[in-house]
Point group: C2
Amino acid sequence: MNIYIIGIGLIGGSMALDIKKKYDDAVICGMDSNKTHIEDALHLGIIDKKVSMDELDQADVVIVAVPVDIALMLLPQILDGINDNALVLDVGSTKSPICEAVAQHKRRRNFLATHPIAGTEFSGPKAAVTNLFKDKTSIICEIEKTAYKQQETALDLFQKLGIRIRYMEAKSHDKHIAYMSHLSHISSFMLGKTVIEKEKNERDIFDMAGSGFESTVRLAKSSPSMWTPIFKQNKANIIETLDEYILNLNHFKELLKNENFEELFNEMQNTNRIKEILK
Amino acid sequence: MNIYIIGIGLIGGSMALDIKKKYDDAVICGMDSNKTHIEDALHLGIIDKKVSMDELDQADVVIVAVPVDIALMLLPQILDGINDNALVLDVGSTKSPICEAVAQHKRRRNFLATHPIAGTEFSGPKAAVTNLFKDKTSIICEIEKTAYKQQETALDLFQKLGIRIRYMEAKSHDKHIAYMSHLSHISSFMLGKTVIEKEKNERDIFDMAGSGFESTVRLAKSSPSMWTPIFKQNKANIIETLDEYILNLNHFKELLKNENFEELFNEMQNTNRIKEILK
């Protein structure tokens, strides 16, 4: 079984590691525009060999794990190159633009749009880890547009990786993921920026960083190459979430200015519900 | 050695656990306005016995680990009640108001203002854990206003708990901790609020919560009773940090609106420096 992984980073590399463990006959074939990534992936045993776009007809499964702008461009070419039985799936954090980009392709039924919600703040093949997807959720969009055989291949793959499936419309995915993931990244990046700017002349101050700061600022370590195209493709939804977030921050600030501490307490107590929700 | 711990919550309870391990002769004496906390702390072996304010003259060390508004009120009474050799230290997240509250007290030299920067999002004695302070930083303010003997007692205690010391003016502490801790809590609370409000009719959406969201929203689980008085006492500094944070979020939103993706990329790349800073 030839598994082609296009983009051997955190996500592609981690998938490769688990697939190798779970499929005895898997040959992991890697592609990456970054030569160092390919070398690292070979060296680390993440991929068995390096392949090129010309060899796509040999693939049984193609996993596209590149930044979402590159995915938009590559997916039609990949579908052009595969054989009729292959499954192509992407794992990007935006789903509407990807689904639109392949909507009219003659091999649309070979494609499945997925978003396994897993990751860390690190990137590149050296960041790849086993079991990254175990007990995590993957969104699958437009399942009905994928042929049964390819659906089955994908579901078998996700099951072996321990992934829980949720089906969702592409537009709903993009709207909700703006709240559940994209906004978190912006809040974290801007928190990091605010603190760095303020403290730039007083480096010692970072001695005061506790686990709370580290936790809220963790996502500010994420890759700009990965996130810029996500923000671009999900612009409208993200602006909406940012408007609401900023509104809530301003409201909190006004409560503080006006010394309305009872209401400030209530705001926090109501938000404590997140404990139960995330259980 | 009689160690009085006033407020047997996450911080007071965790200190009690470590002190018990490190001092053979320590008798941990607990006080808490919450009866359940006292019962839990006795049951869990966090404290050896329950004491009252009338017995303060028996204390060798008094650790005040109550919400900062209660600390302001209690500290002068505690200093009134102790014997002349005792050390009283507080562990609150604001330092100027506390230092002012005891500035004129006849036993000011028995007091040390500290802020061990450690914690979790949980509270109460059941949240107490061992080694919470190991390799963490504690800020100490106005060290010169504390008598040598009490300084030594405190430094020995902190050393045994594995705490690293940084000396700072109370005003500087409050200004910097607004950036390094208080702002993180507000950004997290408001992120939680924004998402809960939006998704209140679609609970299933929280299936989409990844580790990134969980990390940025973790502090929104914190205790409002602890945080309301901190925000109250550090109001001016916090409003300043919030103004800058909101400004940065608005700027990011404008870049997105104007499709200035090059600058958006740069913003994130510059903030990636947090990786090196936090190392």
